[in-house]
Every structure is written in C-alpha cells, then in structure tokens.
Subunit: 557 residues, 2 copies
Amino acid sequence: MALPSLARYCHFKHHWTFPRVHIKCQRRVLSVWSRAAPQSKSMKRTTALKRGMLVPSPQWSTNYLVGRYLHATQHQLQEVMLTSERYGVQRLPFATVSDADLSFFKHLMPGRVITDSEELKAFNVDWLKSVRGCSKVLLKPQTTVEVSEILRYCNERNLAVNPQGGNTGLVGGSVPVFDEIILSTALMNQVISFDSVSGILVCQAGCILEHLNQYLEELDFIMPLDLGAKGSCHIGGNVATNAGGLRLLRYGSLRGTVLGLEVVLADGTVLNCLTSLRKDNTGYDLKQLFIGSEGTLGIITAVSILCPRKPRTVNLAFLGCTGFSQVLKTFTTCKGMLGEILSAYEFMDNECMELVKRHLKLASPVAESPFYVLIETSGSNSSHDEEKLSDFLEHVMTSNLVKEGTLASEDKKIKALWSLRERITEALTCDGYAYKYDICLPVERIYDLVTEMRSRLGNSAKNVVGYGHLGDGNLHLNITTESYSHALLDAIEPYVYEWTSKHRGSISAEHGLGFKKKCFINYSKPREAVLLMQQFKSMLDPKGILNPYKTLPSKVI
Amino acid sequence: MALPSLARYCHFKHHWTFPRVHIKCQRRVLSVWSRAAPQSKSMKRTTALKRGMLVPSPQWSTNYLVGRYLHATQHQLQEVMLTSERYGVQRLPFATVSDADLSFFKHLMPGRVITDSEELKAFNVDWLKSVRGCSKVLLKPQTTVEVSEILRYCNERNLAVNPQGGNTGLVGGSVPVFDEIILSTALMNQVISFDSVSGILVCQAGCILEHLNQYLEELDFIMPLDLGAKGSCHIGGNVATNAGGLRLLRYGSLRGTVLGLEVVLADGTVLNCLTSLRKDNTGYDLKQLFIGSEGTLGIITAVSILCPRKPRTVNLAFLGCTGFSQVLKTFTTCKGMLGEILSAYEFMDNECMELVKRHLKLASPVAESPFYVLIETSGSNSSHDEEKLSDFLEHVMTSNLVKEGTLASEDKKIKALWSLRERITEALTCDGYAYKYDICLPVERIYDLVTEMRSRLGNSAKNVVGYGHLGDGNLHLNITTESYSHALLDAIEPYVYEWTSKHRGSISAEHGLGFKKKCFINYSKPREAVLLMQQFKSMLDPKGILNPYKTLPSKVI
C-alpha cells in the first residue's frame, strides 16, 4: 500500500473524528496540516495511528475483489435439494431429450454440447445453492443463427429451454427446475461495435459486465450499470432481469439506457431491433417487453446500450450514522448539496458489517455505528466535486447526522470501501441458508420492515439484516438460519409480502420473480395486469418452452 | 427590463466578442470590470451599447412566451382539406354515432358532450393545419371511471374513438381521420399526489406540461421533459407519444422517468399500474407498451413520473459556428468539459434564424453565422458551473470552433434565447405548408440530409431548414412551400426515408408515426417487428376502435 494514498486516506479519517471545524475537502485539509506543522508523510501516518485511527486491514488489498464469481472456490459444491422436491413442483409435459436430439445439436455445434454429469452440476445449481435442476444437456451457441436453430428445433420437438447467463440470479430464474436444456450465452462474448462519439456499445449477450466495463474504461467510457456480480454476470442476463445495481441512481435503469436488442423468439424467429439510436419512435417499443422478462418471452442475443463518459473524478464517503432517521436526513441533504455529482447512496446496518467482518475478514474503516452509508460522487472536475463533498460533509457532521466517516478518492481505496457493501451477499451465504427479499418501498418506510421482521422472528432466525440502494428506495432484507427450514419460511412468507403490499411497495425491486417469487406477483400487480402478462406469454411462446416454471404463475390468480 | 440583469447580460456579450482573454465566468468578468474602472450599472450599459453590441430587441420581452398554444389567435382557422380526400383513405366499417349513443354519453357526462359543429372545428384539425377529420362528437370525461364507461360502450357498439390531449402532435395522430368520437383529456387535469422526498408526481393525463412544471417549481422540482408545445400539450399525450424534447439529454427518456401508468383498454378494463416506485421487477413492464403507442392500445388516464430537483443555477450559451463540423466538435468538447452539468445541446441553421426573424420578429443575439448552437447547463453550484462553462467557452473560442456567442443566466433572458429555438416550428407554419421530418441519425451524418435535400429540391421548395436536438442525434428537417403540393411530396418521399434507412437512422425520432408516417414504418423496423406489433394491436384492441388509421399500416408489409 503506497504511503501517500494511505496518508491522504488517514488524514481524512482523523480530521473527521476530531477537530470538526477542519472538515474540508482533501486539498484544504492538507493545507491545514502543512500550516499547523510541516510533517513527512510517514510522520503523518504515525500521528494518525497514535490517535487511535483504524487502519484498513491487510486483506483489503487482497480480498476485496473476490465478489460474486461463478463457482468461486471458497464454496464447495454441496448437494442441494432438488427444486422439484423441495417445492413439490409437477413437471409439465415437455418432451425429453433423445439421442436423435443430441445428434442434431452436436451436428449444429460440434464440441459445444455438454452432457457430462459432473460438468453439468454447476449449471444446474444457482449461486446461492438454494435451487437445483437435473438438466442433462448444456448447449453453448456462439451465434444468433445457432440460437435461432436451437429454438426452432426445440419448439418443434416441444423441448423446454432454460437460458443461462452468468448464473448469478438470486430468485432461481437461471437454473432448470427439471430437465430443461440449458442454453448458455457464455461463448457469445464478442463486442460488435463501439462508437466513441455517441458512447453506444453493441455487443453479444454473453459479454461479462466487468469485461465490458474494462474495455470501455480504456476508451474513456463506463457501463451505465454496476453490481456486485459484475465479475460473472452477462450483459444479456442483466437486461433479461432488468438488473438495477449501484449506478441506477445516476444513470437510470436499463429501460432508458438499452437502445436496442436482438432477440430470438420461441419459434426461432430473430427479432432484430438492435438499433443504435438515442431516439426512435417508430411503432411500439418491443424491446421493452424482453427487458426484465427473465428469458420467458425470448432469448436476448445482442444488446445496444448507451454508455456514459468515464467520470474524471470519483470520491467515496463511508459514514456512520446513529439511527435510520439520520440516514434519511443525510440522504435528503445529500441530494440537495451534491446534486448532479451524486452517483450512489447505499446503506447497510451494523448486522451486515458484523457479517462481512466475521465471514470475509474485512475491517470496518469507521467505529461501530448502527448504520453505515456509502455516498459516491462522480464528476468532471475534481476540485469542484471535492468542494461540494466537503461542504456537504461539514454540514452533516455539524448537524450530528453523521457520527464519523472516511473518504477515498483513489481507485484502490474506493474499491476497498465498496467491497464492504458489495460483498454482503457473499457474507450472507457463509452465514447459512439465506432467505432473500428485495423490496422497493417509499424511502421513509424502508427499514421498518427489517425491525418488524427482527421482532417477529426472534431467536428462530440467526440474523435479520437490511441493506440496499437507499437512493432508489430499494431494501435487501436477508434472514439467515443454519439450514433451510420450511417452518421459518412460513413465518416469513407471506407476511413479508403482505406488509410490502400494504405499504404499496414492490416485492421484487430488481431481482425479478424467477422461480421463487412468481406466485407472489399478485402482491404487487393487479389481476388485470397478470392476465395481460399471461396473454403476452401465450402469444409469444404458445408451447411455453422458454424458461418454464418462472416469472408468471401458471394459473390465473 | 431591470438594468442589473441587462448589464450582466451585456457584459458577457461584450467580453466574448472583444478581448477574448477575458472570457471568464460572470463573477470574474465583473471583478475585471471593477478593477479596470469603477462604473455605475447604467454607465456599463451605455459603454456596451457604444461598443456596437446587439441589444435584445423589445419583442424579446413580450413575444417569446407565445409558443405552441392551441388555437393561438395569430393563425385563423382556415379550411383544411379533409384527410380522407387528400390521402384517399377508405373509412373502416365502424358504426356511426346515433341519437341513442348521444343520449348514453349525455347521461354519463351531463354538459360535457360537445356536438356543436363550430366548437368541434378546432378539435378536428391538427395544429399544423395539415390534416382534418369530421368528428361530430367530442367527449370530455373527468374521471377514469368515465373513460372506462365510454370505451366499454364504444367497444360494444363498434364506435371508433380518437383520444386527444393538447392536439399539438405533428404527424396527424391527434385528430380523427373520419368521424371517430374525440375523447379529450382536457378536464382530467388534477394533480393526484407529489412526494417531495422521492420527487414522484402522480397526476391525471390531461394536466398541461407547463402547468405541472410551474406547480413543481414552487416545490423546488421540475418536470423531466420540456418541449416547445409545453403551454398546450398534456402529459398523457406526451407519454402516449413518448415525447422527447429539450431535456432528454440530461434526464433521459420517458421510458426511464415514467414509473407508472393507469390505462383504460379498448374494452373498458382499467389497468392500474400507477405505482410510485423507482424500481419494480414484478413481471413484464406493461406500461412500456403504452408509452409511445399513440393511443392505439389504450387510453392513458394517469401518470406517475420521477421529477428531478430544480437546478439551483441554469446558464444558457447561444453560439455562432462557421460550419457543421465546428458544431460537432463543439459538442464533443462540451460533453467532455461540461460533463454532468450539460442539460441541452441544440442546433439550428441560419435558414431557421431567418424564419424566426422574418415571421416572428425575433432578433438574433449574435452576428449572422451558418449555424447556431444552444448549450444549457443546470447544476447545484453557480460558481462551479460558471467556471466550467467559462473554461469551455474560452477553449472553443480560442480553438475557433465558435465565432461569437452570448450567455444568459437570468431566467427571463434564458427564456428569450430559448424562444429562438423553440419557436422555429411556429415560424415554419407562418412560412407556408411545412413538410416535416423528424429523423434520428448517427450524429456525424445528421446535417448531410439537409444539404442533400436542398440540392435535390432546388427552387421547387421555398425553404429547406434543419434544426434539432443534436445531443440526441435528432434532426428536424423541414421543407416549406406556399401551399401543399403532391408533386413536391413525391420528390421528398420516399427519398428522405430511403436515405435515412440507408444510414440506419429512425424515420421518427420523437414525433411518432401517427397518420402521416405509419406506412413508412418498414424503413426503420424489420418485418418481424411490425408483424409482432400488429399482433399486439389485435390482442389488445380486437375491433380496432382505438385511434384507427394510425401508427401501424393496416396490412402486413
């Protein structure tokens, strides 16, 4: 760890916790220091250490980038109960894969038809190890034409198909329930074009989000979305699930940034709406129906997406708050004072912090607080941004909204701080079986659900934690136990959905419905809407071969 | 006009055209002045005038707010040729309104059923005076229940319905082609709720855009869209046509900002998807299908929309450029240097300027140039924004990208400068019959179409002008003649669409297809997409009663 950046990092920490009058942007703080008493960088560091400041623990520089990678080595593949057994699902009357079918696929894609049961294991189980199918065939097409041929054939043969991207979904949408053929986009990973004037990227669906971001960063652009699973997730899967993530507050949802899609329909028809135009009002916007449809209406094969310029300067503040009302007030203040440079406003409770400390050996950069807030700014002028941030921090500290905080402007430190928030999901999987809820609520009520659930479940749960994208009103409520328990599930559901519905929230803000939540759609959508969705499904996929058992309930509610 | 603001305004102008080294933000410029020689405000004004500076002409303060108001007095209602005759359209076999039907409507909505032929005239003709229907009934519901009752009845009786908002559309989508019943949202003009923490507004479809903006401004928010027709257009119509406008560059399209819709389907079913949540991934996003469907799939009765905070500081630069390549380079520079505060980048050619000068008596604030650019910044810190803008302007002036410019930061002056761009549409209607094209193209090719068209048409056109939202790649190509000529239309179409298609553009960036462009959809959408759209239409409106003859061609292309 280079000293200058550490010194810079530490000084902030120091100035925040002690002489509050000195809370100023980095440049100003350094000038205060130099005016007070000239010190070498190592001296400054020693002074800071002596004053009891927390120094980032060594694992920050080694562990923080692990993230949600598929088949990560730290989790052994345990035998997960079959979804069909755990949930008592009946298989629909699809055909089963025959030798003749395998011959067809092998002829179409030599060497890219996987039938080895060991190799198939990881594709049959979700990342959370919560659902498991028993597919015997995995196909790895490389082109849209191949996807089209596969679907045309499967539709004729009445074979069910489970599209799969990075398999990082959290609602059981990305793995088969029974023996559906898995169609992986892993080999559809080519960038088709990038226009540096407009910032429009066109690429195949299987490109990994982080790879795209790295590719763009070299060209002075970034992807408009960012999420914890970025190291594994595919852009096609992101679009198919309408992924939200960390940058939504700033760059908006995929419904605005996705400009075009190429989709293969259930019968193999290729729908080419892969335009690269910022505006296009010629007829109905068909691509929107596929965004967030979780592979049930068509398979996305290519994406055209509007990418913002890489911000010249990024700052991240990690703050401790004494209560949730302070978290909310800090948010309102922040929207007003940081305005156009605010790019993320995330929160986590102390229970989350305890989990990442315990299971991932990460260290908190600030003293223990009931809540923590991450505020990211991105802008084009570092001194302007630092001044805005400094004014804001001064205000929230002097108003006692924030107890303590630390600030980073160097890339490595920013990533280290972000990892505390991004790796909560991973820490939860280490804690046992995690019951996951992804709720959107009016921001004022967002934490009430965690408090209520904690008191409702008492000792029957190991941990009840809350974190999420507060700027978007999006709470991730997670409940852990040593192992899956049907009784505990009954204590949580449908209570959590009823509570959400009562407060006019959404029972799935960004994760989708997948397999696990499909039967609860009526808590967020009226009957007329669900009926219409079912009509769309019937129209586009009359045999229902695309990702069956997902997204919509099979019967009218 | 208050002197201080004029002085401020003038000084900018002065410093730009003379000592370029002084191009600095307002604060700096004023300090330069005071250091040079203390002067009173009136003295400063006199000095500026003596130096030959252009002072805004008097009409700036009186005329600039006229805009695209419905039934504006300056245009008498002339007899416009019937659409059915001009275009040779065959009436579809809908029922005609009987006395019994009128009785039903009068009983449902006493005093809000208009049958007076004089009163109906304005609702049968579009704002451009280019298409005309012959409806004999205008209904003015106040509630969603009334709209539902009307549609249920009309669907049963096979009566065609033409939904109408502010009737400011430019493609003939808002007026009947034959005798369709006009359903006006004019009386559905109530704000339902506004949440000042989230910035989410819920209102009825008939609220006028400008009224909503005024309402929000008092609460320190603004609407995420702004367009020339704001004084008349309804938010429901904006959503139904997926209106783009001047703020799209900054706040994105309605596909991202509209959070929920309430829609009445053809059979009277009320589809309540009026959620007020930033994120909601429960099933397919049905509302997207109605955004931009021009009233052909359902009638939007209420809208939930995410509104941004009112920027604390707004600046507008009006610049003259010597060529289109300079306009493009200025844009690229601007995106890099203004970054997050850039809120609009518009352009107009000198032919447009000549039209607003001639027909609307507006004065240009800068010396004649082949092209003009309007750059708006919106931000949270005036000194930061002015510094960024100042650095940018210094750069483009010293690089000879910009010949001359003027800057405004006072609301009245900003509006006056904006009116030059916003009132081009109005000036075009004064120039004669206007053939209007709303094209989206890769930004580098955007003006080539104007140049080609100008040379193709020669003297057969009165004027061929280009302007638009350059930041979005959106060109408004307009061609005027003294009166409508079929021969000229043949010279323009399908050439303009073929050219656009060849360059992979959209033949309707933001105006929609309405009546006039529906047959050209295949220039921007593949056959499979049009077929699917027709299937959606058949599913949602089997009898085709909703806004017939619009958006989609009646036959498969």
